[in-house]
């Protein structure tokens, strides 16, 4: 392979004048983590609301839940980001559209909200499945104790369901981290974007992508290890996962 390897490239100054190439990649890593965390918060909030709607006996509620999930699951994430970024400001009334276009850090907010809503549909499906997996007696017992529906969800069903769906939620969080890289298309210079920029400036393609790969693997290992501890301490005694 006649490729000119140069692993010292990371410690050479980058063309932006601020630090080395390694600093560039680390800045990208931090932006990836920030975007993913904000997206994850959004995904959890909306996913919980929609997941609850899907599990309610009301016809209307489960239809809303179904429609929401189908809407966000049947379009590529990239197209959804384009809709939020390019289309939404044009369809709003003039004033609101102009305000949207002038928000500083627009790619960051669009990416966090877009990825967050995209992932919320998946969280909703997981949560609804978690609630459905609970024995019917749990809900009945909550009602028999005099809890309202809201209280039943708050104190009985949701705490159980979330503990049961911990493992799939871990992989959905990892998907959120990975999906932030799609925001490179709306100009968010996160980890993949910085690796790409480094490749264009320095021509050291494989070093740049290797570093980004190692960083993504590191995120995975940290999250998986951390979640394993969390899963173990939150596992419900008597269920397969809890011993």
């Amino acid at each position: 392979m006649n490729y000119n390897w140069n692993w010292h490239i990371f410690f050479e100054p980058n063309p932006t004048g601020a630090g080395t190439y390694l600093d560039m990649l680390v800045a990208g890593l931090l932006l990836t983590i920030q975007t993913a965390l904000l997206a994850w918060v959004i995904a959890l909030i909306f996913g919980t609301i929609i997941g609850i709607l899907r599990s309610l006996p009301s016809r209307t509620a489960s239809w809303i839940g179904f429609g929401y999930v189908e809407f966000f699951r049947n379009m590529p994430l990239l197209v959804q980001l384009f809709l939020w970024f390019f289309v939404l400001p044009e369809l709003l009334p003039r004033g609101a559209g102009l305000w949207l276009k002038q928000i500083p850090n627009a790619p960051f907010w669009t990416a966090a909200i877009g990825v967050g809503l995209f992932m919320s549909a998946r969280v909703a499906v997981q949560l609804a499945a978690g609630i459905a997996s609970l024995p019917r007696g749990q809900k009945n017992a909550a009602t028999a104790l005099g809890l309202t529906t809201a209280q039943g969800y708050r104190y009985v069903l949701l705490p159980m369901a979330f503990r049961i769906i911990m493992p799939p939620l871990t992989s959905e969080f990892l998907n959120t981290v990975k999906n932030t890289s799609v925001a490179i298309t709306i100009g968010l210079i996160e980890l993949t974007g910085q690796a790409r920029a480094m490749q264009e400036f320095s021509f050291q393609v494989f070093e740049a992508f290797t570093a980004a790969t190692v960083m993504y693997l590191a995120i995975n290992i940290v999250v998986v290890t951390g979640m394993r501890f969390l899963e173990r301490s939150l596992a419900i005694p008597g269920y397969i996962t809890g011993k």
Partner: protein, 230 residues
Amino acid sequence: MFDNLDFDVIRRSLPYLFLDGMSFTLMLTGLSALGGLIFGTLIALMRLSGYKLLGRVAGLYVDFMRSLPLVLVIFWFYFLVPYIGQWLTGASRPIRVGAFTSSLVTFIMFEAAYFSEIMRAGIQSISKGQPAAASALGLTYSQSMRYIVLPQAFRNMLPVLLTQTIVLFQDTSLVYVLSIPDFLGAASKVAQRDGRLVEMYLFAAAVYFVISCVASYGVRRLQARIAIVR
């Protein structure tokens, strides 16, 4: 709100969008699904082979691919495939590879990791008695896999495989990062040429939405039809 929109741009660009863009997308989806399924099945067989080293290698490959974002993998292969080609053909310099070949290699290698997990679950869902009966009948390992285990595993997992293919169909839009004119890339080219981002992106979204909805409805129907009563 819709005053200054010109939806005629969609009609004018229909032939380009579908004959060039959508056919690229569908070809890429179909061939990647096929290739991913073949390689995925091989990886699943490696993991279940009982040879420790082989299983470890396959497991590492799957975990590795699944921890990377597809966008990064697309970039990786875009730059790597010319060198792989050089190595395979023994040429003196990296060979030139077309956009389609490059993205096809990417998606096959990437999807193989996901398909292998599905096939592994499918193979493991076959009761132990089946391969045992096969070897009692004198079938070799490969015969038992070919005639007994894999057909059943494939049938059991068909809905999941198709659902993964729908995800793949949506994911092919990411070749946009290489400025390849797949369906979204074609829509985006027209959008930028004519300054009609709103119309084109709304239309692209609608097309992806309708195709995915119809396909997943079909999968649900199929699932109900082929479910084996146990």
